[in-house]
Amino acid sequence: MSEDLAKPGWKQIPIAGVPFKKATEYHTGDWRTFKPVIDQSKCTKCLTCWIFCPDDSIVWDGNTVQVDYRYCKGCGICAEMCPVKAITMVKEE
């Protein structure tokens, strides 16, 4: 993948496979094929999606429910569990 070529080479990273950056700096959202999109007009803010998200990627911004796309891997559990079908999975471009 082209974005991998921009990452550090084998001479630049520590040996033995030890992590050299924090887990929060490793954006697992890169893995996503389908992204969850929330229709805010349907969302009742019940936060069922927040309960079920295995990657802690549903965030409450104080007013609405949002997805943290840096970490969302696109598993689709939120869309499956949403009681009002406010979340649809849209294929990434």
Binding site: M1, D4, G9, I15, A16, G17, V18, K21
Partner: protein
């Protein structure tokens, strides 16, 4: 000078090498090594932690933890025990843990067999462990001591396997010239963990929560970094060549003993037109044959014994074989469906890019502990001479000593 068998010689070397943790599970013909070590620990001669594991998989896994924590570690196994460790061997090398392990070569089941061949360690030749094959108990003693210095060198940081032939060496008593405890201790010293830089800080590469930056060992490593870590392992293997040579030469200075250049050992190669290539104890029988031939006026056969199989001495081999017309490569393990045994394949590959192109015949022998006699070696020599005369190299694998 002590009368020791190969296993006892290995245990004696480990006792003198300031080892911190030993975890082991007994398996014939390696058992004497770990029995001896447990005695040394029990009677206070060796101040190390000795862990009895419930399997080889557990033994090597305990070693992973201890070595990651910074300990100097040792274990030993054979055949099916090594096969059970297989999964963890790759983890040891990828975590860059300088574990030293003695392998007493034994045929892999099945059918079940306890005698020597090299099928067990050859199956692990791509696990990124340095592999050194020893001819006798003396060399096994000397090599175990060297192995700690090689693996723990900060340019290397790879595990090392030291091989000796089951029963032929492991259970055969010979005079072993051991060094004084202090001499060995000064040579191997104590393990000093490497340092790495993470988050802008230099920290010991150890599993220690008190590190200024505590490290995680063995996290998920996907398409985006795994390949780079494997490339680093290959780099370490390449860098180990210089270290193996240096440690071998330095050890020669304190012991008066050397094994060729540390990679290959040659015998009567100055006048040789034909050469045998083999590993381990068979080299002793080949040397006897060469002596016998010389006494009868034939000095045309020489030997190149490969001592270090990983990293493979692809630069040293062509030089050693210059001027040779025919080479017989002896493999004590099968490679079913391949174009011959592993040593044969590596030797042929090493010569391809060189200017040295003798006829090369591959012979598989000694599986499951079948003897390799002087007569059998002589028949291989005759076969090799015939090949060169006729100009027709063998196009199929030759099996020596098997009943038709």
């Amino acid at each position: 000078m002590l009368a020791l068998n190969g296993d006892e010689a290995v245990a004696y070397a480990v006792k003198q090498s300031n080892v911190d943790v030993i975890a082991a599970f007994p398996i014939t013909p390696q058992t004497i090594i770990v029995e001896k070590l447990s005695e040394y620990v029990a009677n206070g001669e060796l101040k190390a932690y000795y862990a009895c594991a419930e399997s080889e998989h557990s033994a090597i896994s305990m070693i992973v933890g201890a070595s990651a924590a910074g300990a100097r570690t040792f274990t030993a196994t054979s055949a099916n025990g090594l096969a059970l460790m297989h999964e963890i061997l790759y983890i040891v090398s990828s975590l860059r843990l300088p574990v030293v392990m003695a392998i007493v070569n034994r045929a892999l089941s099945g059918p079940i067999n306890i005698h020597t061949d090299h099928g067990d360690s050859m199956a692990e030749r791509d696990a990124c462990w340095i592999q050194i094959y020893c001819e006798d108990a003396q060399e096994a003693y000397d090599t175990v001591i060297q192995a700690f210095r090689i693996g723990e060198n900060h340019k290397v940081l790879l595990p090392v396997m030291v091989m000796l032939d089951g029963f032929l060496i492991s259970h055969t008593t010979q005079n072993v010239d051991v060094l004084e405890d202090e001499k060995v201790s000064n040579f191997v010293k104590h393990r000093i963990p490497a340092e790495i830089e993470v988050f802008g800080k230099k920290v010991p590469l150890t599993l220690n929560p008190e590190n200024e930056v505590p490290l995680t060992f063995g996290p998920l490593d996907l398409w985006d970094y795994y390949f780079e870590h494997k490339r680093q392992q290959e780099d370490a293997m390449e860098k180990s060549r210089e270290v193996i040579r240096k440690v071998h030469d330095e050890y020669a200075k304190i012991s008066g003993r050397s094994y060729g250049n540390g990679f290959i050992e040659t015998y009567n190669m100055d006048s040789a037109e034909y050469a045998f290539i083999c590993l381990s104890s068979t080299a002793g029988t080949v040397k006897s044959l060469i002596d016998k031939l010389i006494s009868k006026g034939d000095d045309k056969l020489g030997l190149v014994r490969i001592r270090t199989f990983r990293p493979f001495p692809y630069e040293e081999l062509p030089k050693a074989l210059e001027g040779v017309k025919g080479v017989a490569v002896l493999d004590r393990s099968g490679a079913f469906g391949a174009m011959g045994g592993p040593v044969y394949n590596e030797v042929r590959s090493a010569l391809y890019d060189s200017d040295v192109h003798p006829f090369i015949n591959g012979y598989i022998y000694g599986l499951g502990g079948r003897d390799m006699t002087m007569e059998m070696l002589k028949s291989i020599y005759d076969d090799l001479v015939e090949t060169v005369k006729s100009g027709k190299p063998k196009r199929k694998i030759e099996f020596v000593g098997v009943r038709e």
